[in-house]
Subunit: 622 residues, 2 copies
C-alpha cells in the first residue's frame, strides 16, 4: 500500500538513459538561475528596516539607503569576481570544487558544509517569506501560516522526487512575470511620488538608542541576504548553450543589474513612502499604497509568492547535488549518492525536506528569526571560493593574472569581512548556531571519510588472498551447529538443511534445569534423528553464553578456510507486532555470534501463516 | 560498561536453585500483606474531603462520616467474601484464576487486564502520596516533588531487579510502626478533643452547590481507594505456614479490623478537627494539630511515608507475577515469563517502572488527579472474582452452598454497583481512560494468544516431517549464490566459504550500466576465480529485484529438501554511526530474500578494524 502511494505521488521508475540536460540560452538561463537571488528582494530591505526602525525610528529610512548602497557595492565586486570563475571553470565552479582544488581538501569541506547549511536555510527562509507575503495580503490566513509552509515544502519535495526538470517555461515565465511586476511597481511608485504623493505620516517613533556601529552592521548583515544565490550561475556553466562561458557571463551581468534595480528601487521607495515594518511585509505594503487593492496589487502578491517558491526549489536542485558529490568522495554516507527510482538523489531531497520543515516549525515560520542564521554560510563559501581563485592566479601567473588576482582578492577580502561582520553582529540572533554547526559537520565529514578509507584499505585484496579461493579443499566438511530448543518444524527444517551442506552437524541444546535436560534427551532418542545432540546445562538461564563457549571450543583450522556455520531459524511473520513477539533472542544471539571470526550465521526463514490457520485447523478437526 | 553498571546495581546472577519461599505466620503475614490496603488511609479520607469541601464547605465533614461508614460496610462484605475465596483456593485465588475457572477465559483476561492497570496505578498513587506527605511536612521540598517520586520508583525497580525478598522484618516492622503511630494519633486526638480542644475555626466557606447524589457518589468513589489491596491475602494463601487457610483467614480478619480503625478513626478526627484539605496532606495536618512539631509528628510522617513506599512495592511483586502468568498462557509476549539474572521477572519490573513513571510525570505527581483513574480496575476484578465464586457455589452445591452463594453474591453485587458508580461519577476525572483501556488490552491479549496458537499449530511436526531429516540425499549440492558487487576481501571470503558448502556456486553481479558490466567481466577474467559469474543489467538501478528474479528462476526440487543459499557479507563495525554507513542495502536484501521459501541467507561477518588502520597503513608505506 505504501508502495502504491509512492507510485501515485512520484510516478513510475525511470531508466538511466533518460538523464539529459536542456541547454540554456541567455534569455531563459537568466530567469532559471535568478530566482534565488532576485527573490531576496522580498525580505532584504524589510529585514534591514526591522533592525533599524525599532531602535532609531524614522532615521531608519535614510540609514537604509546607505546600507543598500553598500550592499550594491558588494554585489558589483561579487559579479566581477564570479565572471572570472565562470571563465576558468567551464564545467561548473561551485565553491566546494574551487576551494578544494586551489586551497585544499579541508577548505573544500568547509565550503561544502557551509553551503549545505545555507541551502537548508534558503528553503526555510524563502518559503516562510512567501507565505508571509500571502498572509500580508490576506490576513485571515495568518492562523495557518505554518501549515501552509509545510504543505509548500512537501509539494516541492514531491515535485523534486518525481524529478522536476528545470524546464525553461516552468521557471522562466514566472520569473519574468515577477521582474516585470516589480519594475512596474518601482516606476509607478516614483511617478506617484513625483506627482505629489504625501506618505501617511509615520507616528513619530522615538529614537530609542543612538546610531551605533553594531546596529548598522546588524542591519547590513540582514541586507546581505540580497546577494545570496548569485553563485548559482557559476555552478551552472555547462548547462549553457555554446558559447557557454560567454552566455553565462552575460547572464551574471544581467542578473546583477536586475538585483540592483529591484533591491535599490524598493529600498528607495520604502524610504519615500515611509513603510513601517511590522504586521505587513514591506513589498505588499508598498504595493497596497501605490496600486491600492487593484489588479496590480494581486499580481505583485502572486508573482512574489511564486518567485519565492521557485527560490526554495533551487535549493532542492542544489542541495541533493552537493551532498551527492560529497558522498561520492566519501565525506557523507554513500546513500546520498544513490539515484532513486526517478533518477534524482532522493535521500538528499528527503533530508532537505525534513530539516527545513523542522526549522520552519522551530522558528514559527518567522523570516526575522530565520534571517539570523542565514547568509553566513553563503558568505563563507564566497570567501573560500574567491580565495581559491586568488591563489589560482597567483600560482598560474597566466596573462593578465595581476588584474584578475586583484579582483578575486578584493572579492575574498570583502566577503571575508562580511563573514566576520555577520558572525559577530548576528551572533546572538542565531548565527552562533551556524558558527558551531559548521565545524561539527566538518568533523563528522572527516570521520566518515576516514572510516571509508579504513574500510577500503581492509577490503583490498592481495594476490595471496585471491588465490585462496581456488585452493579450498572441497572434500572437507565444515562444522555446522544447529541450536535446538525444542523439536518442531523449524528445528527439523534447520537440521535437514544442515545435512545438505555438511556431514559434520551438531544439534545444540541449552537446558535451564535438570528436568529440561532429561526431557530433551528422551525426546531426541524417541524421534530417532541421526544427528549428534550436545546438551549444555545453564544454571543462570543464559542461552547465548553456552553457545558462544561451545563455538569457541570447536577445533577448526581457520587458516585453511574452515568455517563454523550456525543455523538459526527465523520466523517470518506478517506484521510488526507479531515480529515483536518473536526473534528477540535470535537477534541477540546473531549479534553476539557475528563478533566471532570465521563463523557464518545461516538464517533459515520459516514463513508463518496468519492467525487464520486456527480456523482452518478447527474446520479440519470437524 | 553498561554490563558493569548493571552488575553493581542489581548484583550477580543467581542460580535456579535459589528460589524458595519464606512461609508467613499470622503475626508477620499480616504486615507483609497489609501495606497496600492500610496505606490508603493516607489519601482515602483526604480525597473524599477534596471532592466535598470545595462544593459544600463545612457540611463536607458530616457527609464524610456517612460516606466512610458506607465504605466500611463495603469492607465488611468484601472481607466475608474473600474469606470464602481463601477457603476454596489454597493455592492462591487471584481474580484472574477465579474468574477464568468459574466464568470463563474471557472474564479471566478482563480481570487480568484490570488488575494490571491497577498495579501500575498503585505505584503511581502510593509514591505520589508518599512524597506528598513528606512535602506537607517539609514544604521547602515542594519544587523537587516529581524528581523525588521518580527516584523512589527507580529505587523500587532496582531493589526488585536485585530480587528483593519480601522478608518479614524488612516489611513487617515498618508496617507495625505505622499502625502503632496511627493508633496513637487517633487515641491522642480523641483525648485532646474530649479535654476541650477547640478546632481552629474554619473560615466559613460558602456552600457553592447543593448536596447532589453525583457529588456524594464522586466522594464515595474516591473513598473506595481505602479497600483496594485487601485481595492481596487471598492471592498469598500458599505462602502461609500450615494451617495455611486458617492463618490466611485470620490475617484477612485482622486486616479488615485495622482498616476500620485507621480509616474510620482518621475520618472522624478530620471531622472533629475541621481539617481543610488543600496545601497539606490531611494526616500530616492532623498530626501537626494533635502533636505539634514534636517527635510524634515526625514519627507519623516517617512511618506513613514508609508504608506508602511499601505499598508501591507490593505492586512490584504483584504485577510481574501477574503478567508472567498471563504470558505463560500466551496472552502476553513471552518475554514477560522469562526470569532475569536474579530470578525475577525483570521485563515486568521494567515495564511497570516505565509506565508508572510516565503516569507520575504526566499527572504531575498529584494524587487528586491520579485517584480519578484508580480503584475502578480493582473493583472490576473484585466483581469478576466474586461472581466467579458465586457461580462456583451454584454449580457445586456442596454443603452450606446457599449461605456461601449469598455472601459472594452480595459481594459481587455491591462491588459491581461500585464499578458502575466509580465509572460514571469519575468518568470525566480520568476513569474514561481506564474504561477504554481495558477492552483495548483485552483485544490485544486475545490477538497475541491467537498468534501464539497459530504458530504452535504450524510448528507441530508430523512423523512424515521428522523422517525427512534422515532421508536427505547427502551427495546433492545445493545452489549457492554469492552476490558480488566488486572484488574485495569480503566477496572473496564469501566465495571461499561458498565452495566449502557446495560445488554449485554462482557469483551474481548487478550492473547498473553497460560500462560496469564490461568492467566486471574484465576483472573477473583477470582474477581467474574458478566460479561461474552471472551478470544482470539493471536499468532502474535496482539491486534486489534482479537477485530475487534470479533466485526464483533457479531449478530446485524443494520437495527433496533442496535449498538455495545466498551468502551476504556483513561488515561488523565498532560503533552505531559506522553501522549506519553500511549494511543498509544488505538489510533490505535480507528482508526480501527471507520472504522466499526454501532459501537460506548465510551472513558472513567481516570484522573491521577502527580507523587507526589508516595510520598503520601510512607507517607501513614509509
Amino acid at each position: 500500500m505504501i508502495n502504491k502511494l509512492k507510485r501515485i505521488l512520484i510516478g513510475k521508475p525511470l531508466k538511466n538513459e533518460v538523464i539529459k540536460n536542456e541547454k540554456y540560452s541567455v534569455f531563459w538561463g537568466l530567469p532559471i538561475l535568478a530566482s534565488d537571488a532576485i527573490s531576496s528582494v522580498a525580505y532584504a530591505s524589510q529585514e534591514i528596516l526591522l533592525v533599524l526602525y525599532p531602535a532609531i525610528g524614522y532615521l531608519a529610512f535614510t540609514q537604509m539607503t546607505y546600507i543598500s548602497a553598500a550592499i550594491i557595492g558588494l554585489l558589483v565586486i561579487l559579479t566581477l569576481s564570479y565572471r572570472q570563475t565562470i571563465e576558468e571553470y567551464p564545467n561548473g565552479g561551485g565553491a566546494y570544487i574551487v576551494a578544494k582544488e586551489n586551497i585544499g581538501t579541508f577548505a573544500g569541506i568547509i565550503a561544502g558544509a557551509a553551503l549545505a547549511i545555507d541551502y537548508v536555510l534558503t528553503v526555510a527562509v524563502s518559503i516562510s517569506s512567501g507565505v508571509e507575503q500571502i498572509v500580508s495580503a490576506f490576513p485571515q490566513m495568518k492562523s495557518i501560516t505554518i501549515l501552509l509552509c509545510i504543505l509548500l515544502v512537501l509539494l516541492l519535495a514531491i515535485g523534486n522526487l518525481r524529478g522536476l526538470r528545470e524546464s525553461a517555461r516552468l521557471f522562466g515565465i514566472p520569473a519574468y512575470a515577477f521582474i516585470i511586476g516589480m519594475v512596474w511597481l518601482i516606476i509607478a511608485g516614483f511617478i506617484r511620488y513625483v506627482n505629489g504623493y504625501v506618505p501617511i505620516e509615520v507616528s513619530p517613533k522615538a529614537i530609542v538608542e543612538p546610531i551605533t556601529i553594531i546596529l548598522i552592521l546588524r542591519a547590513f548583515s540582514n541586507g546581505c541576504a540580497a546577494v545570496t544565490g548569485i553563485e548559482a550561475v557559476s555552478n551552472a556553466v555547462p548547462n549553457f548553450k555554446e558559447p557557454a562561458r560567454k552566455n553565462a557571463k552575460k547572464v551574471m551581468l544581467f542578473l546583477a543589474i536586475i538585483i540592483v534595480v529591484l533591491f535599490g528601487g524598493t529600498s528607495i521607495l520604502a524610504n519615500l513612502y515611509h513603510i513601517v515594518p511590522g504586521e505587513k511585509a514591506v513589498i505588499i505594503n508598498l504595493a497596497e499604497q501605490i496600486f491600492g487593492r487593484d489588479f496590480m496589487f494581486y499580481y505583485v502578491t502572486a508573482t512574489i509568492f511564486t518567485i519565492l517558491v521557485l527560490a526554495a526549489n533551487t535549493a532542492y536542485s542544489g542541495f541533493p547535488l552537493l551532498v551527492s558529490i560529497m558522498a561520492r568522495e566519501g565525506y557523507l554516507p554513500r546513500q546520498f549518492d544513490m539515484r532513486g527510482d526517478r533518477l534524482n538523489y532522493s535521500n538528499g531531497i528527503i533530508i532537505l525536506t525534513l530539516i527545513s520543515s523542522l526549522l520552519i516549525i522551530g522558528f514559527n515560520a518567522k523570516v526575522t528569526s530565520l534571517i539570523g542564521l542565514y547568509a553566513i554560510g553563503v558568505f563563507i563559501s564566497f570567501t573560500l571560493s574567491q580565495t581559491g581563485m586568488f591563489l589560482k592566479w597567483i600560482r598560474s601567473k597566466q596573462s593578465g593574472w595581476v588584474n584578475k588576482a586583484w579582483i578575486n582578492g578584493l572579492g575574498a577580502i570583502t566577503t571575508g569581512v562580511a563573514v566576520i561582520v555577520i558572525a559577530i553582529s548576528k551572533f546572538g540572533e542565531g548565527a552562533w548556531l551556524v558558527v558551531f554547526l559548521i565545524p561539527i559537520f566538518v568533523a563528522i565529514m572527516v570521520r566518515i571519510k576516514n572510516h571509508y578509507t579504513a574500510i577500503n584499505l581492509q577490503l583490498k585484496c592481495s594476490h595471496r588472498v585471491l588465490n585462496k579461493v581456488n585452493k579450498v579443499h572441497e572434500n572437507y566438511d565444515n562444522i555446522v551447529i544447529v541450536p535446538v530448543q525444542s523439536i518442531n518444524k523449524a528445528s527439523i527444517q534447520a537440521l535437514r538443511y544442515a545435512k545438505t551442506i555438511s556431514r559434520n552437524v551438531i544439534a545444540f541444546h541449552v537446558a535451564t534445569d535438570e528436568e529440561g535436560k532429561a526431557k530433551m534427551e528422551k525426546m531426541w532418542a524417541e524421534t530417532d534423528i541421526n544427528v549428534k545432540l550436545e546438551i549444555k546445562y545453564s544454571p543462570y538461564r543464559k542461552i547465548v553464553e553456552p553457545l558462544l563457549k561451545f563455538v569457541r571450543a570447536q577445533d577448526c583450522d581457520y587458516s585453511k578456510g574452515e568455517t563454523i556455520t550456525v543455523i538459526l531459524p527465523q520466523f517470518v511473520v506478517n506484521s510488526w507486532w507479531q515480529w515483536l513477539l518473536h526473534n528477540q533472542t535470535r537477534l541477540f544471539i546473531e549479534r553476539e555470534l557475528l563478533k566471532q571470526k570465521h563463523l557464518v550465521v545461516a538464517t533459515m526463514p520459516l514463513q508463518l501463516k496468519g492467525d487464520e490457520v486456527i480456523l482452518e485447523h478447527k474446520k479440519r478437526k470437524k
